[in-house]
C-alpha cells in the first residue's frame, strides 16, 4: 500500500492510534459480552429443558403404579435418597432378538388385575401406542433374560427423615409385608417418578402420621 502523500502530524497520529485502540478494545469487549450471553443462555437452557420435559410428563403423562422390591437392609438409603428397586426389573428376550449391556431399549407396559404395571415385552425399536418405557439394558443373564436399568431408581428425601423413611421402606418391602409402590408418569416412553407410597399413603404423610409418640416427625 503506498504511503499517503499527506501524512498526519505526529500528535494527530497518536490521537488516531489511541482512538483505534479504544475501538478495538470496545469491539473485543462486545464480542466477549455476546459470547458470554450466548453461553449463559445455554447454561440456563439445559436445566430448563430438563424441567420442561418433566413438567409436561407430570401434567399430561399417564400414571402407572410399580411395585417396589424387597431391599438389602443396608442399602435402602444412600445419602439423601431412598434407593428404589422395582419388583419387576427384568424382561425376557424375545425370540430372534439380541441385546447387550448399555443398549437402549423399549419396555412394553401393561396393567395387571390389581392395577399395577408390569413389563410385558422388550423391543429395540419404539413400539406403537403410548404404553412403553425407554430403558437401558443393565446386564444380560444366561437364561434369556435381561436386567433393566429403569429410569426411576431413587426418591430424594431430607436427611432428617432418613432413618424413619429407611425403616418404613424396608418394613414395607419385605416378602411378608409388601405394600410399597411408586407412581410414575409416562409420556412417549419418558418416565418421571411422581411419588413413593407406603401403605397407600405418600411417604411423607405416612411418616408424619406413623410416629408412635403421636408427634409429627416431618419438618
Amino acid at each position: 500500500m503506498n504511503p499517503s502523500p499527506f501524512p498526519l502530524p505526529l500528535g494527530e497520529r497518536i490521537k488516531v492510534r489511541g482512538r483505534l485502540q479504544k475501538m478495538s478494545t470496545l469491539r473485543s469487549k462486545n464480542i466477549v459480552l455476546c459470547a458470554f450471553v450466548c453461553l449463559a443462555l445455554i447454561q440456563i437452557g439445559v436445566p430448563l429443558s430438563m424441567i420442561g420435559h418433566r413438567e409436561l410428563t407430570l401434567r399430561y403423562g399417564r400414571q402407572y403404579r410399580f411395585r417396589t422390591a424387597p431391599v438389602d437392609p443396608y442399602d435402602a438409603f444412600r445419602g439423601r435418597y431412598v434407593a428404589l428397586r422395582m419388583e419387576q426389573d427384568k424382561a425376557t428376550v424375545p425370540n430372534g432378538s439380541e441385546f447387550f449391556r448399555g443398549q437402549r431399549a423399549f419396555a412394553h407396559i401393561e396393567v395387571d388385575e390389581e392395577g399395577f404395571a408390569r413389563i410385558s415385552n422388550l423391543s429395540a425399536d419404539r413400539p406403537d401406542g403410548e404404553a412403553y418405557l425407554r430403558v437401558r439394558i443393565g446386564y444380560v443373564s444366561g437364561n434369556n433374560e435381561v436386567h433393566l436399568d429403569l429410569p426411576f431408581d431413587r426418591y430424594y428425601m431430607s436427611e432428617k427423615v432418613a432413618p424413619a423413611a429407611e425403616a418404613a421402606y424396608r418394613e414395607h418391602s419385605t416378602r411378608e409385608k409388601h405394600d410399597a409402590y411408586v407412581t410414575v408418569r409416562v409420556r412417549r416412553g419418558f418416565a418421571v417418578l411422581e411419588e413413593l407410597y407406603i401403605g397407600n399413603k405418600p411417604i411423607r404423610e405416612f411418616l408424619s402420621r406413623d410416629d408412635p409418640r403421636g408427634e409429627r416427625t416431618e419438618n
Binding site: 453461553l39 418433566r54 444380560v140 417418578l193
Partner: protein
C-alpha cells in the same frame, strides 16, 4: 526467560556494578532488555487463589443454606432457587465484562463459581424431579456447558476442572459399556487454551497447573479408553505415552530446573520409572498378544482400531522426539526415551515365545541401567535431586527382587544397610564437590 531468574539477575546487578564486574551502562541495558518484572506477581497469585477459594466457599454455603429447608419448599420454589446461584453469578460476570474487569483473580473466581453453579443447578433439578442417577450423563452435560467459560472468560481453573470431569466421565462411560473413546475429542476441546497459555509463558502458574492437569488426566484416561481386545497393548501405549511426555517436556520446557514447573517431564520420568518396575514382575506379561484375543459383549471390536492407532502413533512420536533430542546433543535423554523400544521388544519376545521370562529379564536390566545412568548423570552435573532419583530407582529394583527371592533376613538387612549407606555417602560426596566447585 523465567521471571524468577530475571528478578535474581536484578538482585545481583547492584553488587556486580559496585565490584566493577559490569558497568552501570551495561546494567541499564540489561534492565532495558528484560523489562519490568511484576514485583507483585506473588500478590496476584495469592489474590487469585483467595478469589477462587472464596467463590467455592460462597457457592457451597449457599447450597447448604438452601438444603436446610429444602423439603418444605414447593417444586416451583426449588426450581427458582436451583437457578439463583447460576443467574446471579452470570449477571455479575456480565457486569464485570462491561466494566472491563480483566484481572485474573476476578476472571478465575467468577468462572469457577459459574462452572460450579451450573453443575449445582443440574443436580438440584435432578433432586427435585427424582431423576435417575446416571452420573455419566450428568458429568458430560456439566462439562460441556462449562468448558466454553475457559475461552469466553480466559480462565484456566475451569479448564482444570473440565479435564478432571471428562476423565471421571470416561470411567463411568466405560463401566456402563458406552463410548469412552469420546474422551479424546473432548480432551482436544481444552488443548487450544493450553496452547495459548504456553505461548504466552510456559512457566507461569497457569501453564504449569494446566500441564499437570492434562498430563495426569491423560495417564488415567488412556487406560480407561483402551478397548483391550488384544491384551497387553497397554504396555506399549503407556510406555510410549510416558516417553512422549518426558521427551516433549525436555524439548520444549527445559529452561527451568524446578521439577514442579515441568509437569510433562516430571510425569513422564516418574511414569517410566514406575512402569519399568512393574514390568520387572511376571504378571503384566501373562496372557498377552493375539493368541489371547478377547471376545464377548463387553468388548467392541470396531472400537479397537483406536488401540491399534495409539499403539502405532505413540511409539513413532516418541522415536521422532528421541532422535531430535539426540541431534540436539541431549544424549542424557536416551535412557528414559528408549522405553517404548524396550517395551516393544519385550512384547514381541513374550508373544512369539509365549514365555514371560525374557521380557522380565530385559526390564530388570533396563531398570538397572536406568537407575545407574541417572546416578551417573546426576553426579556429573552435581544435581543431588537427580542422584537421589537414580538411587531410588535402583533401591526399588533391589527391594522388588528381594521380595521375589529366597534370601534370609540377615542378607536383606545387610543389603538395605549398604543401600542406605550408599545414599548417604553419595550425597555427602556431591555436597562436598559442589562446595569445592563454588570455592
Amino acid at each position: 526467560m523465567n521471571k524468577k531468574f530475571i528478578r535474581w539477575l536484578y538482585g545481583e546487578l547492584p553488587e556486580l556494578v559496585s565490584r566493577g564486574v559490569v558497568s552501570g551502562d551495561v546494567a541499564e541495558k540489561l534492565r532495558e532488555h528484560y523489562g519490568d518484572v511484576e514485583g507483585q506477581s506473588g500478590h496476584r497469585i495469592a489474590l487469585t487463589v483467595c478469589s477462587i477459594l472464596g467463590s467455592l466457599l460462597i457457592g457451597a454455603g449457599i447450597i447448604l443454606l438452601l438444603a436446610h429447608n429444602w423439603e418444605d419448599l414447593s417444586r416451583a420454589v426449588r426450581t427458582i432457587l436451583a437457578f439463583t446461584p447460576l443467574i446471579v453469578s452470570q449477571a455479575i460476570a456480565i457486569w464485570g465484562v462491561r466494566k472491563g474487569k480483566s484481572s485474573s483473580a476476578w476472571r478465575e473466581g467468577i468462572s469457577t463459581f459459574i462452572a460450579l453453579a451450573a453443575g449445582a443447578s443440574i443436580a438440584l433439578v435432578g433432586q427435585t424431579y427424582h431423576i435417575s442417577g446416571d452420573m455419566g450423563n450428568f458429568l458430560l452435560t456439566w462439562m460441556l456447558i462449562s468448558v466454553p467459560l475457559v475461552y469466553v472468560m480466559g480462565a484456566s481453573l475451569p479448564c482444570v476442572l473440565y479435564f478432571a470431569g471428562i476423565t471421571a466421565w470416561s470411567g463411568y462411560e466405560q463401566e456402563m459399556g458406552g463410548y469412552a473413546l469420546l474422551f479424546w475429542p473432548l480432551f482436544m476441546l481444552g488443548i487450544p487454551h493450553i496452547w495459548q497459555e504456553w505461548r504466552k509463558n510456559p512457566y507461569s502458574p497457569r501453564s504449569v497447573a494446566l500441564g499437570w492437569a492434562a498430563s495426569l488426566c491423560l495417564c488415567v484416561a488412556t487406560g480407561i479408553t483402551l478397548e483391550k481386545v488384544v491384551p497387553g497393548l497397554w504396555i506399549i501405549v503407556y510406555s510410549a505415552m510416558f516417553a512422549v511426555l518426558y521427551l516433549a517436556g525436555g524439548y520444549w520446557f527445559s529452561e527451568v530446573p524446578s521439577t514442579a514447573q515441568r509437569p510433562l517431564h516430571s510425569v513422564g520420568a516418574v511414569g517410566i520409572a514406575v512402569l519399568s518396575l512393574l514390568f520387572t514382575f511376571e504378571f503384566p506379561w501373562k496372557e498377552i498378544g493375539w493368541h489371547h484375543y478377547r471376545y464377548g459383549a463387553r468388548f467392541h471390536e470396531y472400537v479397537a482400531w483406536a488401540d491399534y492407532l495409539l499403539t502405532t502413533a505413540l511409539p513413532v512420536c516418541a522415536l521422532c522426539l528421541l532422535v531430535t533430542s539426540v541431534r540436539r546433543g541431549q544424549k542424557s535423554r536416551i535412557l528414559f526415551g528408549m522405553m517404548p523400544i524396550i517395551a516393544i521388544i519385550g512384547y514381541g519376545l513374550t508373544v512369539c515365545g509365549q514365555d514371560e521370562f525374557p521380557a522380565m529379564m530385559l526390564f530388570n536390566a533396563y531398570m538397572f541401567a536406568l537407575g545407574l545412568g541417572t546416578v551417573i548423570h546426576g553426579t556429573r552435573n552435581l544435581r543431588i535431586g537427580t542422584v537421589n532419583g537414580g538411587m531410588l530407582i535402583l533401591t526399588a529394583l533391589i527391594i522388588a527382587r528381594f521380595f521375589d527371592s529366597d534370601l534370609g533376613f540377615v542378607a536383606r538387612g545387610i543389603a538395605f544397610i549398604l543401600i542406605g549407606a550408599g545414599f548417604l555417602v553419595t550425597n555427602i560426596i556431591l555436597v562436598k564437590r559442589a562446595k569445592g566447585g563454588s570455592q
